[in-house]
Structure formats: C-alpha cells, structure tokens
Symmetry: C2
Subunit: 222 residues, 2 copies
Amino acid sequence: MEVLVPFSPDRPKSRLSGVLDGAERVAFARAMCADVLAAVRAAGGDPVLLTTASAAELDVDAMAERAGIPAPSVVDDDRELSAAVNAQLAERRPTPEEPTAVVMADLAIATSASIERLLAADGDVIIAPGRGGGTNALVVRDPAFRVDYHGASVRDHRRIAAEIGADVREIDSYRLASDVDEPADLTEVLLHGEGAAAAWLRESGFGLAVTDGRVGLSREGP
Amino acid sequence: MEVLVPFSPDRPKSRLSGVLDGAERVAFARAMCADVLAAVRAAGGDPVLLTTASAAELDVDAMAERAGIPAPSVVDDDRELSAAVNAQLAERRPTPEEPTAVVMADLAIATSASIERLLAADGDVIIAPGRGGGTNALVVRDPAFRVDYHGASVRDHRRIAAEIGADVREIDSYRLASDVDEPADLTEVLLHGEGAAAAWLRESGFGLAVTDGRVGLSREGP
C-alpha cells in the first residue's frame, strides 16, 4: 500500500522553540521523519514523501540512509497540507483493492507493529486519532473521501466519511496518537521511542527528570 | 478475571480545580469510575473497587446503578495507591490461571474493546502505559510482581518485571493511555467518550472550542 508521509521541512516544530533552536528543530524533525519512513517500510508499506521541498533540497537519500531503507519516492507540492493530500487522493482514486494511506511525519513513537495494525484494519476509511482532536494517520479505500486537517479533524473526518456513506473505523493506538508538537511530547519519545528521534534527543543531552512523582524533561549541556 | 479499580473519593482530581469546583470534581470522578466499572464488566472482567472509603460512604449502589451493572465488591484500604495494590497482589497471588488486573478509575475514554484487548493479551505482566510515564492498567500473572506507581512507573514496572524474570508486554491503546488529570484531558473525553463522564461534561455546559485550528475547551453557564 502506498503511504503518503507529509513532511514540511521549513521552520518545522515551532512549538518546540522553547527547548530546541532552529537548526535542532530541523535535525529532530528529520530524525522523526526517518523513523516514520522506516516503520512504514517495515510494516510492508510503500512510503511516498509528500513535501513542500524538492527531493534534492530535502536530501532524501541521506534521510533514507538514516532510516536504513531505499530512498522513497517524493512528490513535491507547496500547498498547505489538506490541499496537497486531497490532490493526491484525487489522482490516486483509492479503492479497497488499491488503498492509499496518510501517516504524519512526526509520529516519533510509531512502530512497525502499530503501522501494521493501521494498514491491516478493515473499513473504507480508517482513522488513527491524535491527541487534541487531530488525525495522525488514515487509510482511505473510497475514492470520494477528502481530508480537512484544520481544527478537530477527527470529527470532520468522521462526518466526511459518513456523508459519502463510507464505513469508518478508528484505530486505538497510543503510538499513532502521539504526534510530537510540544516539549511535554518529548518525554513520550524518551519513554517509548526506539529509533533515530529518541537517539537524537539522548545525544543532545535530553533525559527524564522525575520530581515529586511527576515526569519532566531535563537537558545537560554538551 | 478480577480487576481492581483503585478509587480515592476524597478531594479527587485537584489538577482540574481551574475548571471544576470541589463538588463538581467529586461528581465527575464518580462518573468516570462508573464508566470504567461498566467497561470492565462489559469486557467480561469482575471489577473490585479498591478504595480509601467504605462501601457505604462511597454509595457504591448508586455508582453501580449509574453504570448499569451489579454492585462490585469493595475492598477498603486507606493506604497510598502502591501499598494498597501490593497488599491485594500479595493476598491474591496472581498466576496464569488466576490473573489479577488493575485498571485506574479515571480512564474516561476506555471502552469494553480496549479492556478486552488488555485482558486477552499474553504475557506474565501486561502494561498499558499512560501519558507522562504512568501505568494506567496492568494484568499480573506472576505472584512475585509488585507495583510502584510513583514517578515514571512504566519504566519501573518494566524493570520490576525483568528482575523477577517475568515476560512483560505493553498494550498500545490510546483509550487506556488517556487518564484524566488536567483540563486539556477533558477535550479527549468530549471527543472520544461514550459514557457517563462525557455526558456529565456536556450536561455541565462543556464543549469543544476550535480557535486558529487548535482545539480547546469551552463552558456555557447553566
């Protein structure tokens, strides 16, 4: 199954600016994306980077080498996320025989097992909800389905699927629900991550700090 | 399988004090607990309330009626969580034939399906991690296992299981990972809850507010 992985390399992860500087956010976002590409590949999916940059600008070969996988194909589209994904859905016309999946590039604790569950789930539209009402991953088997990532997209995607009469299911996965946007999310990567993103954080001096029974983030200087 | 549901009814959920007053926090905590009891029962488990109060003080019958289930048995123990759970594990001596589970009372979006996955999982010790390093649910099939809920308990439970040579597995469930402690967690209940806790929030005027693409909480006066 082709799995679109939207990745926007310009000024990524601005909500991490309190703990990571600009160059660090770029490096960390690339490490997360490499982990997602590797998990998709290990789950038997065929990753397609959907990105606002070109393959050369992205240095996709380096990212694939880091992930230990063949270089993924790259589609470049500088429109915002929903427009870019919908253009791909319109072009691919997913069906039960040839579904299309969409998996966000910041699911740093996704594993091949969690992606396998997603790809194997029955239904016309499979939604993996993200914390805060987002949609972190989708499988689409109905050519009429379109995305709208703005706002509480999990509700909108349930509604859009219902409007076209598609059978919609949800995947109950913490690993797929955990996108990384805020400093608190980094503790989840340290607790549960197994790939390049967790390694990058540890190499950059991050660790867990447990104070008064609550788990926080610590950072040591280089 | 007997499923311990620890529930401390005094001054519950203090981190919700910015959005709910004391009486509201008590009512909401009871609604969440009723939902968990109902989900455990629907999953084929036998819930046992492990509580710092007596059955009469708790008015367990009213809680069970709300959950639409027979009144659960009640064990009262006024020690802190880990000591109270460990006393039960010492007494019950869980084995593969007679395991004991522990499911927190504030898993307001847990469903019978997510609890079923937990109870059906293979392994000597099954951990459902919570956000922030907690342990939201456990199945124990080894009489030597003990809990330590302080701090990043998911790491401690992995270590404790390894020390006694127990085969430890983790359940990847967003519904089990989502305990309710902070105002942001209430949006998850509104988005994904199907029971008494979600109904209580709606009846109390809470709704979702989507501003600038971010999902927050709103409340209307009565």
